[in-house]
Amino acid sequence: MKILVCISVVPDTTTHIRFTDKMDALDTNGIQWIINPWDELALTRALEIREHPGSGVTQISVIHIGMKDTEPVIQKALAVGADSAYRVNHAPADSLEAASQIAEVVRKEPFDLVITGHDSADYNGSAVGEMLAELLGWASFSSISSLSVVDSVITLERESDIRSETIIAKAPCVVTIQKGIAKDPRIPSLRGIMTARSKQLTLVEPVKCAPLTHFVRFENPAPRSQCRMVDPSHVEELVNLLRNEANVL
């Protein structure tokens, strides 16, 4: 079984987000880029599955749609254990563009299972996995909290407030994972870092695909109002503030 993990490259989640002067794009100055944490979990789970004897997993590849400056982040995916990588040389404007580029690669390469994270920590589209499945005509399983592969049989679990589902999925399919699916993301070993360079990173030219969305303007969220401390003995004052200032009662 061959697994493809889709990885977005996003700002480090501790980044102080700023926008350009025209407020129409992210100001990328000084940003440290990382693998989208959800996608990193997906990759970690794929690596865990392969280590299990009898999984039948023979290859784990990663794919990213982005420009050359994202390659150091792709190298990290290779350093932690992915066997090979694809970079589609394009900066996608929306989820459909990203899904279309991935679909084009998957049509040419025989992958059995594509895993994506629940969403990306930058634009939070939460759409690439489902769009990709639709474009490929594959089954799609979203919000998956457990994924295992034994003898190439894919078993999934999905939790909701009212029930827990166990699904036996048929390959090929797209699985979108949520938190809790894997242990902590892996730290690359020094040997892994040095061997990443010698792994195959295939550069793919993009196919034509018009984005369906464009960003008009970004706005910073309103600053949080200051916390007011109320003495525990002054309950009436607290009720008054909640009712007349916060308007929540």
Partner: protein, 380 residues
């Protein structure tokens, strides 16, 4: 001149940072309080390749350059210098000496498992009456034909209990003074080795430090590093690299304290504003940052010289001197910026201050570094 790190170097730096911030931080206060040896961290760091960082991959090392080693040491030391000193001793003092001066058989038997982290090493030079004056070795390695008979006491030995292999400096020809010293590879479980109690230290409390006593310990002749009488030269050569490791450690202690002080200064308010708006605090942070950056450049320069096969003894002495003094000053001021909070363990800076003190003392005191630097500049 290129001040850019390579992508690999950045990844190594990030890997060390991730390990420190995810794993070391979790139990560092407890290990410090109770002097608990960080066995699980030493194993994990070995699995990641940090215990034989610069060893040639043909001996199962990671084959990294010295810049990468400096980066890793700084990141680990920002969080826990007790762990980074274990990494430093194994890399700089034990693996380096074996790889540089060992025979092929010695490398196969000792260097390979040390680089893989299956063995841990210790470097035994200091004695009760021979610290800075390392030429005055009282430990004797009597030549008995097929073997050396080792007798004496070594002090302040990092990894004293946890190591499985010792590199021991001992006198074979007292009449030749320092030219009679040999460097011997000694198996820790050899009959005749006893340990003193665990030293109850001011800082670096999680690393195990012991005195080690040798009573009629037989060491095979093939365990001598280099030719007869080469031990002192070997030790001094090895310490050049060791100093760079400790310089990077001191740099990490300083930058760890600085980062905590900077963060605190943006959160803590006094007189109606965050305290970094007060010039007395802002100038202190500016001075800290400048001294740390200068120290980083000194470390990188010494590492660059070493990687390019150029003499780096004075450069590493300058790096260690500057970084150790900077670490002591920065950590003291970081406690000051934190005020009362800085004096309690929960905020980490008092621990970093205790750790900083040792960097001015071990692997050559600040005074010894100045001696090395002054002798060099006067000889030009």
């Amino acid at each position: 001149m290129d001040f850019q790190l390579t992508e690999e170097q950045k990844m190594i730096q990030q890997a060390a940072r991730d390990y420190a911030n995810r794993e070391l931080i979790q139990d560092v206060l407890e290990r410090d309080a109770d002097s608990i040896y960080p066995a699980k961290h030493v194993k994990a760091l070995a699995d990641l390749g940090f215990m034989g960082m610069m060893v040639d991959p043909k001996y199962d090392g990671s084959g990294m350059d010295t810049i990468s080693y400096v980066l890793a040491m700084e990141e680990l030391s920002k969080v826990d210098a007790s762990v980074s000193v274990i990494v430093s001793v194994n890399n700089s003092l034990v693996c380096y000496g074996l790889e540089e001066f060992g025979t092929e058989e010695q490398k196969e038997k000792y260097l390979r498992p040390l680089a893989r982290g299956e063995m841990l090493g210790a470097f035994l030079l200091s004695e009760p009456e021979a610290g800075s004056d390392a030429t005055s070795q009282h430990t004797l390695a009597e030549d008995m034909g097929d073997y050396y008979l080792l007798n004496g006491t070594k002090n302040w030995i990092t990894n004293g209990n946890s190591a499985s292999v010792y590199i021991v400096m001992a006198q074979t020809h007292p009449e030749l003074k320092h030219k009679g010293i040999n460097s011997l590879i000694v198996d820790r479980n050899s009959p005749g080795i006893t340990l003193g109690p665990h030293e109850d230290k001011m800082g670096m409390r999680s690393s195990d430090t012991h005195s080690v006593m040798f009573t009629d310990v037989k060491v095979p002749k093939e365990n001598r590093l280099g030719p007869d009488g080469f031990g002192f030269k070997m030790a001094m050569k090895t310490l050049e690299g060791g100093r760079l490791g400790i310089a990077a450690q001191a740099l990490g202690i300083a930058s760890g304290a600085y980062e905590r002080a900077l963060k605190y200064s943006k959160e803590r308010k006094a007189f109606g504003t965050e305290i970094f708006n007060h010039q007395s605090v802002a100038f202190k942070l500016a001075e800290m940052y400048t001294k740390i950056e200068a120290g980083r450049l000194l470390c990188f320069h010494a590492a660059w010289l070493k990687d390019n096969g150029l003499p780096y003894g004075t450069a590493s002495a300058m790096a260690k001197y500057h970084c150790a003094e900077t670490a002591m000053w920065v950590t003291t001021e970081a406690v000051q910026i934190h005020g009362g909070y800085g004096y309690v363990r929960e905020y980490h800076v008092e621990r970093l201050m205790r750790e900083a003190k040792l960097t001015q003392i071990y692997e050559g005191t600040s005074e010894i570094q100045k001696l090395i630097i002054s002798r060099d500049i006067f000889s030009r």
